[in-house]
C-alpha cells in the first residue's frame, strides 16, 4: 500500500513538472504573440524574474508596468522580492500613475528592510504632498507614513502637521490615519502627536472625525481632558460618521463614560424637583427617551434616570440608533457600551439586534453566541422570549451547538420550558454523543430550575432514556442525571423507591461502567429506602467485581461500606461485604486498595462477625468481641456523617453541579473584545476602568453648542453634498453667509465662557441667556487665533468649491437653515422656495425641532435651547469651566 502511494506521489510530481514545463512553453509562445493570460502571468511570475531588472530599467512604461506586475505577483504568492528594491525605487517618480501605485505597494512592503535606499524616494513624496490633486496628496501621505524608516520620523511628523491643516477632509482623514503609524515607529513623538490630535479633534467633518478618534485611541487613549470640549459634538456626529469611525467613537465614549460618570446602577433613586417637572413629557417624547425605560414602572424610571448625569444620558441616546446599523462591528460596539455603561434597564434594547446578527453567517454567529451566553448569564430574562433562535439546526457545527446549549440552559424559564423540552428530545437522539449528553443535562437542569413544572415530565423522560435499549452512552448519561437529581433532593421520597428499583433492574442488562457506578452509588446511599433489594445488588456487584473498571469498583466499595452501616447485622450481608472488601484489598489499582482498607476499618464496628467463616478475616487485626457489641451512638453518627453525603456531591462520583451550568463565571473581559472570545488576555488588551466612587468635577462638554450642531449634522445627509474640488477651479463669491457657520459651535461656547461656573442651585435660578445678544455675538465675534485660522480655512474651502447649480441650491438651503432659528422666534419672514429640495429641508428642520424637543423633555437637567425664548425650562446648563476651554 505504502509503495503504491509513493509511486502515485512520484507520478503526480513528474506530472506537475511536465505541466509546469508545458505551461512555461505556452507562456513563452504566447509572449511571442503578445498575448498572455493573467492566470499564467500570475502562476509563472517568479520564473521570469531574471528580466524584471531589465524591464524596470526600460524606457517604456509598458515594460516597467510589466516588471512591476511580476514583482507584485511574486509578493502575492508570499515569495521574497526585496532584491529588486534599487530598481524599483528608481521608478518612484514615474509619470505613469499606475506604475507609481505599484511602486508604492512595493515600497510599503520592503522599505523597512532597505532603509537607506528607501530614503531616495522621500523627496518625491514631499513634492507630492503639495500636489494640487488631493488624491495625490493623500496617497503620498499614506506611503510616507507607511514606510517604516525611523530616520525620517520628523519628516513624517511635518507631513502630518501639514496634512492636518489640509482643506480636503479626505487628506485630513489620511493624516489622522498616519498618526498611529508614526507613533508605533517612534513613540517619543507622542507629545507632538497629541497636539496634532488636539487640532484634529476640532474637525467638524464626519469623514475625518472617525479616524481622528482612532488615532486618539491609539496614541493617548486616556487623555480624556482633550475629549471634554468635543463630547457633545462626538455624540452628535456619531450617526453620520462612517462605520469604522463609529466603532472607534463608541469605544472611546464607552471608556470616557466609565471615568467621567457615576455607575447608573448604583445611583440611589431620589425624587428631586427636576424629576417632578416632566414625568409626562418623558412619555410623550416618543422614540428615544421613553422607550428605554419601558420595562420599569414609569415612576421609578424617572426617579432613577434623572439622577444620572444628563451627558451620560445623551451618550446612551446617541448610541442607540446605531443598533440598527448594518455593520456588526458597530452593533456590537454599541451593545458592549450599553452593557458596560448603561443602566440595566437599557439592556433590553440589545436583544433584537443581537439576534439579527445571528443571521450574518456562521462565523459571526459563533462570536455573537459567545456574547449572548455572557449577557444571558447575567440577564437570563432578556432572551426568554427568543429561545427558539438558539435551537440547533442540523447543519450547526459542534462549536455552535455547544454554545447554544449553554445559552438554552441559562434562558430556560417557566414561560418557555415547554417549547424547549419538545426541542431537546431531538438533540437527545442526535448521533453526536456530546450533544445528546448536553441535552440530557439540560433536561435534568429543567427539573432543578423549574421543579413545579418539569419534575414529573423530566424524570419520566430520564427514566425512559435510561431504558434505551441501543445506546449505552445515553443510558449512562440518564443515570448520571437521575443520580444528580436524587442527590439534590429533586425526587420526592415517594418516588424514590420506585426509581431505585427501576435503576437496579438495569444492572441485569448490558450497561456502561458509568451507569453501573452510578446505580451502585445510589443504592449504597439510599439503601434504607429499598432494604429488600440491597443484598441482591451487593451480590451482583460482588459477582462481577473482578472484571469491573476502577470507577465501578470504587462505587461498589463505597456501597459496601454504607450497607454495612445500614444492615451490617444481617449475616449474609456481612459476609458479602467482607467478601467485597477482601476482593478490593487485593485489587491491582492502589486507589481501590486504599479506599477499601479505609472503608473496611470504618465499617467494621457495624458488621456481624460471622463465626463460621473466619477465613475471610484472617488478615484483619483481631477484633476480639468488640464487634459483637452494638457500636455507640456517637460512632454511628460519626460514620454516617462520614459515609453519607446526600446533599453534597460525592467524591467518588463525578461532581456535576448542574446549576453551575447556568452560571458562567462572569467574564471580566470587556464585551466585544478578542480576549473575551478566547477567554485569555490578548496582547494590548486593557480592561475598562472601574466606575469612579465620587462624581468627577463637572466639566464643560459642549452641550449647549450641541443643539446648534445637531441642526448642522442632522442636515448633513440631505444637504451637505458640496464637493470641493481642490482649488484648481476659480473661486466663487458664494459663501460669505456660510463662512462663520462652520466653526460656530465652538466659538459660541467660547463666547459663553466668561461666566463663572454656576452651582446646581444657582443654575436653576438663572434665566435663559438673551438670544439676540447671543446671535449678534455669534456672528460677529472672532476671537482666538485658532479660530481665526480655522475660519479662514473654512472660507478657503468654500471659496474653492466649484460653482454649480447644486451649490446654489445648497447655499439657499443653508440660508434657510440659518434663519430657521430666527424663524422660531418669529423674527424671520423670508420667503421659502416651494421646490422639492426645500420641502425636504423643512422636514429636516422639523426633525431637528422634534429631536431637540425630546431632548429637553428627556433630560431635565440639560440646558434649554438658547434660541428658544418661549422655552420655560427653569434650569440652565452647567456653566463651562472656562479654564478647560481656553487651554
Amino acid at each position: 500500500m505504502a509503495d503504491y502511494f509513493t509511486r502515485a506521489a512520484a507520478l503526480a510530481h513528474s506530472a506537475a513538472e511536465i505541466s509546469k514545463r508545458v505551461s512555461e512553453g505556452l507562456v513563452e509562445n504566447a509572449k511571442d504573440f503578445g498575448f498572455e493570460s493573467p492566470v499564467q502571468f500570475f502562476d509563472t511570475a517568479e520564473l521570469k524574474l531574471s528580466d524584471v531588472k531589465e524591464k524596470l530599467d526600460s524606457r517604456l512604461d509598458r515594460d516597467k508596468l510589466d516588471g512591476m506586475k511580476r514583482l507584485i505577483a511574486v509578493i502575492c504568492k508570499g515569495h521574497d522580492a526585496s532584491s529588486f528594491f534599487p530598481d524599483v525605487v528608481k521608478n518612484v517618480a514615474s509619470s505613469n500613475l499606475e506604475i507609481r501605485q505599484l511602486v508604492y505597494m512595493y515600497l510599503l512592503r520592503y522599505a523597512e528592510q532597505e532603509q537607506d535606499l528607501a530614503l531616495l524616494s522621500i523627496n518625491t513624496f514631499q513634492k507630492d504632498l503639495s500636489d494640487p490633486n488631493q488624491g495625490i496628496r493623500a496617497m503620498a501621505l499614506r506611503v510616507l507614513s507607511g514606510i517604516r524608516v525611523p530616520i525620517i520620523s520628523s519628516i513624517v511628523l511635518m507631513a502630518i502637521q501639514k496634512g492636518v491643516a489640509d482643506k480636503s477632509p479626505y487628506v485630513r482623514k489620511i493624516a489622522a490615519y498616519a498618526i498611529p503609524k508614526l507613533y508605533s515607529l517612534d513613540p517619543s513623538l507622542a507629545p507632538s502627536l497629541v497636539s496634532v490630535i488636539k487640532i484634529l479633534l476640532q474637525d467638524n467633518t464626519p469623514m475625518a472625525i472617525g479616524s481622528v478618534i482612532q488615532a486618539f485611541n491609539e496614541v493617548c487613549p486616556d487623555q480624556f481632558d482633550l475629549i471634554h470640549p468635543h463630547f457633545a459634538k462626538l455624540c452628535h456626529m456619531l450617526i453620520d460618521t462612517d462605520e469604522w469611525g463609529q466603532v472607534a467613537i463608541v469605544n472611546l465614549l464607552m471608556r470616557y463614560a466609565r471615568t467621567q460618570f457615576l455607575n447608573p446602577n448604583t445611583i440611589t433613586p431620589s425624587v428631586t424637583t427636576e424629576t417632578l417637572a416632566n414625568p409626562e413629557t418623558d412619555n410623550r417624547s416618543g422614540t428615544l427617551s421613553a422607550s428605554g425605560y419601558s420595562s420599569v414602572p414609569e415612576g421609578n424610571a424617572i426617579t432613577t434616570s434623572t439622577t444620572i448625569d444628563p451627558d451620560h444620558l445623551l451618550l446612551q441616546k446617541s448610541f442607540t440608533p446605531l443598533l440598527q446599523s448594518d455593520n456588526s462591528a458597530v452593533v456590537m460596539a454599541v451593545v458592549a457600551a450599553l452593557y458596560h455603561i448603561a443602566p440595566h434597564t437599557e439592556l433590553r434594547r440589545v436583544v433584537k439586534p443581537l439576534i439579527r446578527l445571528l443571521r450574518h453567517g456562521p462565523e459571526l454567529e459563533y462570536v455573537v453566541l459567545t456574547h449572548i451566553a455572557i449577557i444571558g448569564a447575567k440577564r437570563p430574562d432578556l432572551f426568554e422570549d427568543s429561545i427558539q433562535h438558539f435551537y440547533i439546526r442540523p447543519t450547526d457545527p459542534p462549536y455552535i451547538w455547544e454554545l447554544k446549549m449553554q445559552i438554552l440552559n441559562t434562558v430556560v424559564s417557566s414561560s418557555n420550558y415547554r417549547s424547549l423540552l419538545r426541542e431537546i428530545q431531538q438533540y437527545i437522539r442526535s448521533d453526536q454523543p456530546r450533544l445528546a449528553q448536553l441535552a440530557t443535562q439540560t433536561l435534568a437542569l429543567c427539573v432543578l430550575k423549574l421543579p413545579q413544572q418539569c419534575t414529573s415530565i423530566g424524570l419520566r423522560g430520564l427514566v425512559t432514556l435510561s431504558r434505551h435499549p441501543e445506546n449505552p452512552d445515553l443510558v449512562a448519561q440518564a443515570t448520571v442525571m437521575l443520580r444528580v437529581l436524587v442527590q439534590r433532593g429533586a425526587v420526592a421520597t415517594a418516588h424514590l423507591e420506585k426509581l431505585l428499583i427501576n435503576l437496579l433492574s438495569l444492572l441485569t442488562g448490558n450497561t456502561a461502567p458509568l451507569t453501573r457506578a452510578n446505580i451502585y452509588w445510589l443504592i449504597g446511599e439510599y439503601g434504607d429506602k429499598i432494604p429488600d433489594y440491597t443484598q441482591d445488588a451487593l451480590r451482583m456487584a460482588a459477582r462481577t467485581f473482578g472484571t469491573e473498571t476502577t470507577e465501578v469498583k470504587l462505587a461498589v466499595v463505597a456501597m459496601a461500606a454504607k450497607l454495612a452501616v445500614l444492615s451490617g447485622r444481617l449475616p449474609m450481608m456481612a459476609i458479602l461485604i467482607q467478601y467485597v472488601f477482601t476482593l478490593a484489598r487485593y485489587d491491582l489499582n492502589y486507589d481501590v486498595r486504599d479506599r477499601a482498607r479505609f472503608l473496611q476499618q470504618v465499617s467494621l464496628p457495624f458488621l456481624q462477625q460471622p463465626r463460621d467463616s473466619p477465613a475471610l478475616l484472617t488478615d484483619l487485626p483481631d477484633q476480639g468481641t468488640d464487634t459483637l457489641q452494638s457500636p455507640s451512638e456517637e460512632t454511628v453518627a460519626w460514620t454516617r456523617s462520614l459515609l453519607f453525603n446526600q446533599s453534597q456531591t460525592s467524591p467518588t462520583m463525578p461532581s456535576y453541579d448542574l446549576l453551575q451550568l447556568t452560571q458562567l463565571p462572569a467574564s471580566e473581559f470587556t464585551l466585544g473584545s478578542l480576549s473575551l472570545v478566547l477567554d485569555r488576555p490578548i496582547e494590548g488588551y486593557e480592561s475598562l476602568a472601574n466606575w469612579p466612587e465620587v462624581q468627577p468635577p463637572a466639566v464643560h462638554r459642549g452641550t449647549e453648542a450641541f443643539i446648534h450642531e445637531s441642526r448642522r449634522f442632522s442636515h448633513f445627509k440631505s444637504s451637505d453634498f458640496e464637493s470641493w474640488d481642490d482649488g484648481n477651479n476659480a473661486p466663487t463669491e458664494e459663501s460669505s453667509a456660510n463662512t462663520p457657520r462652520t466653526f460656530s459651535p465652538s466659538r459660541r461656547s467660547r463666547h459663553r465662557h466668561h461666566k463663572p461656573p454656576a452651582s446646581r442651585s444657582q443654575r436653576t435660578q438663572e434665566k435663559v441667556h438673551d438670544d439676540n445678544d447671543d446671535l449678534e455675538a455669534f456672528y460677529n465675534q472672532s476671537d482666538g487665533e485658532d479660530y481665526v485660522a480655522s475660519v479662514q480655512l473654512a472660507a478657503r474651502q468654500l471659496h474653492s468649491s466649484k460653482n454649480t447649480t447644486i451649490w446654489e441650491e445648497q447655499s439657499k438651503s443653508r440660508t434657510f437653515k440659518d434663519s430657521s432659528a430666527l424663524r422660531e422666534k418669529g423674527e424671520y419672514h423670508g420667503q421659502v422656495s416651494e421646490s422639492e429640495w426645500s420641502s425636504s429641508c423643512t422636514e429636516d428642520s422639523v426633525e431637528y425641532t422634534t429631536s431637540e424637543g425630546s431632548r429637553e423633555e428627556g433630560y431635565s437637567d440639560e440646558s434649554s435651547d438658547p434660541y428658544d425664548s418661549e422655552s420655560d425650562t427653569s434650569e440652565e446648563s452647567p456653566r463651562p469651566s472656562s479654564r478647560r476651554l481656553l487651554s
Binding site: Q134, P180, D326, Y391, S419, V677
Partner: protein, 391 residues
C-alpha cells in the same frame, strides 16, 4: 512571519474538516487566526493584538463582498486572474490594519473594475487607463455616492425578498416560524436624489437594520425610509417581522419512519398550500440522514433525486409545484446501526407573494427632477424558505 503562521492554519485544515474549526483560532502563541469561509475559499486574517473580533469578521466579509461585486464570482481562478486588482483593493481597503475605504462605489473610482475594454487598452497602451482624476476619492461629501452621476434613463428598482424559517413536527404542525426580509434596491438615478419610501404597515417590522444612507432618526419618528441612495445595486434594509397569526406555510411536509428487518423506511409527503395562484419554484428538499447510515436508496414519483453517499444527504428537487398540489411522495430506505433524527430542510421561491404582509405605500423623490423617471416597485416579492422538519 505571517506566512509561517498561515501555514499553521493550512495544516489545521488538512487535519480536520473546516466546519469544525472555530472562526477564531489560536495559531501560535502570539497569532490568532480569524477566518471566514465563502465560496469554498478561506479568507484568513492574522491578529496579534487586541481588536474587536466583529471588526475583523466584518472587514473580511466586506472584502469578500467587494471582490464578489467586482468580478461577479469568487474562486481561485478569478483571484489569480485579477491578482493585481485584488491586491490594490486590499491596499485601499486596509491601511496599517485600519479599515480605510470599504465602500464599493468609492473603491470603484480608485480601483477600476477590470473589463474587456480596459484589458484591451492595457494590452495596447500598457496602461489600465488610470487617470489622476481616479484619485479624487472622497470628493463627494456623501461617502457612498460619488458626485456627478448621470443616467440617461432614470430608473429605480425595488425588490423585497423574504426568508422564512419554519420548524414543523413530523405531523406537519408548525411549531415556530421566523420571517426575515430584505429590501434590495437597484438605483439608476442621476444627481443626488433624495428618496422617501413609506410603508402601509410599518408596524409589523419587529427589528430592522439599514444601509448607512438611511436616516435612522427619521425612521424612528415617521416610520419612513428617507435616504440618498448609492448608485447601482445595494441592500437598503433588512428586517424581521413577527409571524402572522395562524399562518399556514405554503409547503407542508409529513414524514414517518418504519423499521423492517433492520432497514429504515422513510416516507416524506409534501403538500403545497395557498400561494395566490403562483407556483412554488425551485423546490428543494434536503434530507440529512446522519453519518451512520448506509445503503441509501431513494424513490419518488415526481421530481429529481440525487443522493450524496459521502455526506449522506438526499436532495429532492422540483422545478415548479402548482399550488394545492397534494401528496408528492418521496421514499427513502437505508440501513443504520443507530436510531437517530433526520434533518429535513426545504427551500423554494414564490413570486409576488410577501409572507409577512409588508406593503409599500409609495416612493417619493425630492431634490432632483428628471425629464424621464421610472420607478419599478416591487418587481416581485420573493420568498425563500427554510423549513426544518423534526422527526
Amino acid at each position: 512571519m505571517g506566512l509561517a503562521v498561515a501555514s499553521q492554519f493550512i495544516k489545521l485544515l488538512t487535519e480536520q474538516p473546516i466546519n469544525t474549526i472555530r472562526p477564531i483560532v489560536e495559531l501560535s502563541h502570539r497569532y490568532i487566526g480569524v477566518y471566514i469561509h465563502r465560496s469554498d475559499i478561506v479568507f484568513l486574517c492574522l491578529v496579534a493584538s487586541e481588536v474587536s473580533p466583529f471588526l475583523v469578521l466584518e472587514f473580511l466579509e466586506k472584502f469578500y463582498q467587494v471582490i464578489l461585486e467586482y468580478f461577479g464570482k469568487v474562486n481561485e481562478l478569478v483571484l489569480k486572474e485579477n491578482y493585481l486588482t485584488v491586491t490594490k483593493l486590499l491596499e485601499e481597503m486596509l491601511d496599517y490594519g485600519y479599515p480605510l475605504t470599504t465602500n464599493t462605489s468609492m473603491l470603484k473610482e480608485i480601483v477600476p473594475v477590470p473589463n474587456l475594454v480596459s484589458r484591451v487598452m492595457q494590452t495596447v497602451t500598457g496602461s489600465a487607463g488610470l487617470q489622476d482624476s481616479n484619485l479624487n476619492v472622497g470628493t463627494s461629501m456623501i461617502p457612498w455616492r460619488r458626485a456627478g452621476i448621470q443616467h440617461t434613463h432614470n430608473e429605480i428598482y425595488l425588490d423585497i425578498v423574504e426568508e422564512v424559517d419554519f420548524t414543523c413536527e413530523a405531523t406537519g404542525q408548525v411549531t415556530s416560524m421566523d420571517i426575515t426580509g430584505k429590501i434590495l434596491c437597484n438605483c439608476l438615478l442621476s444627481g443626488l436624489p433624495d428618496l422617501t419610501l413609506s410603508f402601509v404597515n410599518p408596524d409589523i417590522l419587529d427589528d430592522y437594520s439599514f444601509h448607512p444612507c438611511v436616516r435612522i432618526r427619521k425612521f424612528e419618528q415617521d416610520k419612513v425610509l428617507s435616504f440618498i441612495p448609492p448608485d447601482g445595486q445595494f441592500k437598503l434594509a433588512t428586517y424581521r417581522t413577527k409571524a402572522p397569526q395562524s399562518y399556514q406555510p405554503p409547503l407542508v411536509m409529513y414524514a414517518r419512519t418504519d423499521v423492517q428487518d433492520g432497514i429504515h423506511h422513510l416516507t416524506l409527503e409534501v403538500d403545497a398550500g395557498e400561494t395566490f395562484g403562483k407556483p412554488l419554484r425551485d423546490v428543494v428538499l434536503t434530507l440529512a440522514l446522519g453519518e451512520s447510515t448506509a445503503n441509501l436508496i431513494g424513490k419518488a414519483d415526481h421530481g429529481d433525486i440525487s443522493i450524496d453517499t459521502r455526506t449522506k444527504v438526499v436532495t429532492w428537487k422540483h422545478k415548479s409545484v402548482k399550488e394545492h398540489t397534494k401528496g408528492l411522495t418521496l421514499r427513502v430506505s437505508y440501513t443504520s446501526n443507530k436510531q437517530q433524527s433526520v434533518g429535513i430542510t426545504a427551500g423554494f421561491t414564490v413570486e409576488t407573494f410577501a409572507i409577512s404582509g409588508l406593503r409599500i405605500h409609495g416612493l417619493r423623490l425630492s431634490n432632483e427632477r428628471y425629464q424621464f423617471y421610472k420607478v419599478k416597485w416591487p418587481v416581485w416579492f420573493s420568498l425563500e424558505d427554510d423549513i426544518n422538519l423534526k422527526l
